[in-house]
């Protein structure tokens, strides 16, 4: 192993920080919850999950956490994805494919726009509690 210089150490820290960002205890300001029940997985939720991770990594979005959950009961519109971020409406997207996932990251997660053609519902807070629990 080559000994590190100051620049090496800083570069190493930055690259590892990214890899650990999903794991550190710092507060996240929003979350994406992907329905990964049997219906969701059959409809392609796994590749949607990958698309989210990949696109968020590209755009260096680290303040949003991606979680998976069971079936929401909306099996006909799987894969479903619930997005709850600060300063944006709380939205459930239906029929999300990889391309839609990337659009959600680019538009919704950056706080610029909703992906209107895939909105399934904007639930009121008393139906689905914040955090999708």
């Amino acid at each position: 192993m080559k000994k590190l210089t100051l620049d090496d150490l800083r570069a190493l820290r930055n690259s590892k920080k990214k890899a650990m960002s999903q794991r550190d205890g710092e507060a996240k300001s929003g979350e994406v919850v992907i329905g990964m029940g049997t219906c969701g997985i059959a409809a392609g939720a796994k590749s949607v999950f990958d698309a989210f991770l990949d696109e968020m990594e590209k755009l260096e979005i680290t303040n949003i956490v991606i979680k998976q959950t069971g079936c929401m009961g909306l099996c006909f519109s799987e894969p479903t994805v619930e997005v709850a971020t600060e300063n944006m409406p709380h939205v459930v997207y239906g029929n999300v494919d990889e391309e839609t996932a990337r659009r959600i990251v680019r538009d919704h997660l950056t706080g610029t726009a909703l992906v209107s053609d895939h909105i399934f519902d904007k639930p009121s807070m008393d139906i689905i509690e914040k955090g999708g629990k």
Binding site: M1, K3, L4, T5, L6, L9, R10, L12, R13, K16, K17, A19, M20, S21, Q22, R23, D24, G25, K28, E31, M36, G37, F49, D50, L53, D54, E57, V65, I66, K67, Q68, T69, G70
Partner: protein, 592 residues
């Protein structure tokens, strides 16, 4: 690509000794079988602190916190939680008195983690993870942006005090060493943790070894030392392994060794293993032990900061103190000094044990009250009986009684009520605990560990122990109380080192708050808590239905009687083990 899930598995000594390793292996196997190695990262971490409920597994990003997880649960965790995203309710922690389990655990609410910041987050065996959490950032800052004087000023301004027990200001200590001109200086880490029931230092070294290495290098830079030693007891094999690995990794990266990060500062660290003598936690004895001599203290001054290892200026700090240093430099002295009380800054780690629901390792800001620690974090007394006392400071400390439950805990306030901060052991007791019994236990410990060099400690300790032993056997005499006080006072004034000076503290403290209990033992020949065996008698009353359960468990066969007829205990043969008392389902055995 980033992982979808992270499974953090505690690999501290407490969890590892409870099948934690088998659990880790089982999870690894299940992950491989499910073919999801690229989606889930299995991480071995340091101590979560919730040791009474171990082994602990935490799932991220869901933040599900599973307790008492066994190897047989691995399959369900992978199949249900990881693949299907379902929380496994039966593995969540259920707080006493609450209906349903949850991830929201009161144990963590009032905690504030500085020292334990990386424990249970990073894998202590991978240096990159430490670096990702700003590790070696403080060393970098010191070497490139600060002069040794700047660092010293920052440490002084933070108000950080030694966490080993006495609470000496760390910056002042470093200043003494820095001021001395010498061709060689040393930096030493005191990891000779020996108080019964205390394991704060072990957990830091196991869970975050690099933080200690980084802090020692910073001290080396500040005072002008190029060599460091970590004195650790051989009874901590896991901590030793992880330290050795950490030193190797840091050297490979050039974060220890010659010309660190390309500067002209060089610093090297070696381990020295102690054989587990309590007195070697005393700094002069520790240094003697590192030098290869018998671990015996020498009078101070001169203090080690001026004349220490091989006669050279030596900064010696406790593990927990070291773990604070990188944070002080990174976040600044101002941030640090805002935490805590007027005279005690920062946080303190306690090993919470005894009659408490949540035993474990906790870190709270200085100034937290005992009530918050016992009831909010510790979840209250596990037996449901009233709180009697908390013992802090181990064999050198004393008791905190119910009237002081709301005293904010810091160095001064604990001293004022006759106890001390100590290194952080905290044993909670209820009314079933006999204070004479507890005091005797600590005295036995210090008598055993006394090095024997000075008479007050060697003879005084033994005399105190003999008196306590007599009292606990119902042979106490009225003048014993005064005798204990006199001997205790003499030990305090005349002993050579901290061990002897404080060995009588448990006696003095219990005499102060529980003199009644001493009198009951001496005058009435009763032990109110029912602990002192010699004063107990077990008798069978008329509720006995003759089930023979007691006769069957009696190890000395001293219980006689026919089936379905009341039994009797032969008092001459009885060894007062209490087995019959705890076995009887009919309250037919009286203890008193």
């Amino acid at each position: 690509m980033a992982y979808k899930n992270y499974i953090l598995v505690c690999a501290g000594t407490a969890c590892e000794s409870n099948k934690g390793k088998a659990l880790y292996d089982a999870l690894e196997k299940e992950i491989t079988e499910a073919g999801i190695e690229t989606e889930v990262q299995l991480v071995k971490t340091g101590c979560f602190g919730f040791c009474g409920e171990g082994p602990i597994v935490k799932i991220l990003p869901e933040e599900n916190f599973y307790v008492k997880v066994g190897p047989k649960d691995a399959k369900e965790i992978i199949n249900e939680q990881i693949i299907k995203g379902r929380t496994i309710k039966r593995l969540l922690y259920k707080e006493p008195g609450k209906d349903s389990p949850s991830d929201d655990i009161g144990f963590y609410h009032k905690q504030f983690r500085i020292v334990l910041r990386n424990c249970a987050v990073i894998n202590p065996e991978i240096i990159d993870e430490y670096i990702a959490r700003d590790g070696y950032g403080a060393l970098e800052k010191a070497l490139f942006d600060m002069t040794p004087d700047d660092v010293l000023e920052e440490i002084k301004a933070s108000g950080l005090r030694g966490r080993g027990g006495a609470g000496f200001p760390t910056g002042t200590k470093w200043g003494f060493s820095k001021a001395v001109e010498a061709d060689q200086k040393y930096v030493v880490c005191n990891a000779d943790e020996g108080d019964p029931g205390a394991y704060m230092d072990r957990s830091v070294l196991e869970g975050d070894p690099h933080t200690v290495l980084e802090a020692m290098a910073i001290a080396g830079y500040t005072i002008g030392a190029s060599k460091g030693y970590i004195y650790i007891r051989a009874e901590y094999p896991l901590a030793i392994d992880r330290l050795n690995l950490a030193i190797k990794q840091a050297k490979e990266y050039g974060l220890l060794g010659d010309e660190i990060l390309g500067t002209d500062f060089s610093f090297d660290i070696e381990l020295r293993l102690g054989a587990g003598a309590f007195v070697c936690g005393e700094e002069t004895a520790l240094l003697a032990s590192i030098e290869g001599k018998r671990g015996m203290p020498v009078p101070r001054p001169p203090f080690p900061a001026v004349k220490g290892l091989w006669g050279k200026p030596t900064v010696i700090n406790n593990v927990e103190t070291w773990a604070n240093i990188p944070v002080v430099l990174l976040k600044g002295s101002k941030w640090f000094s805002n935490i805590g009380t007027a005279t005690s800054k920062g946080t303190k780690v306690f090993a919470l044990t005894g009659k408490i629901n949540n035993t474990g390792l906790i870190e709270v800001p200085m100034g937290t009250t005992l009530r918050e620690i016992i009831y909010d974090i510790g979840g209250g007394i596990d037996s449901g009986k009233p709180f009697k006392a908390a013992q802090t400071g181990g064999p050198s400390g004393g008791c905190i009684t119910p009237e002081f439950l709301d005293t904010p805990i810091d160095y001064e306030s604990l001293h004022a009520i006759g106890s001390m901060m100590g290194s952080g052991g905290m044993i909670v007791m209820d009314e079933d605990d006999c204070m004479i019994d507890v005091t005797k236990f600590y005295l036995e410990f210090t008598v055993d560990e006394s090095c024997g060099k000075c008479a007050p400690c060697r003879i005084g300790g033994r005399s105190c122990y003999n008196i306590l032993d007599r009292i606990s056997k119902g042979q106490g005499e009225p003048e014993d109380v005064q005798k204990l006080k006199d001997i205790g006072q003499a030990m305090r004034k005349a002993s050579l080192c901290g061990l002897g000076q404080t060995a009588s503290n448990p006696v003095m403290s219990t005499l102060k708050y529980f003199e009644e209990e001493y009198r009951a033992h001496i005058e009435d020949k009763v032990c109110p808590a029912g602990k002192c065996k010699e004063m107990l008698t077990y008798t069978i009353n008329d509720k006995c239905i003759g089930c023979t359960a007691c006769a069957r468990v009696c190890p000395v066969n001293c219980i006689d009687g026919e089936v379905k007829k009341p039994h009797t205990i032969d008092q001459k043969e009885c060894i007062k083990c209490g087995q019959c008392f705890s076995t009887c389902k009919f309250n037919a055995i009286d203890k008193g």
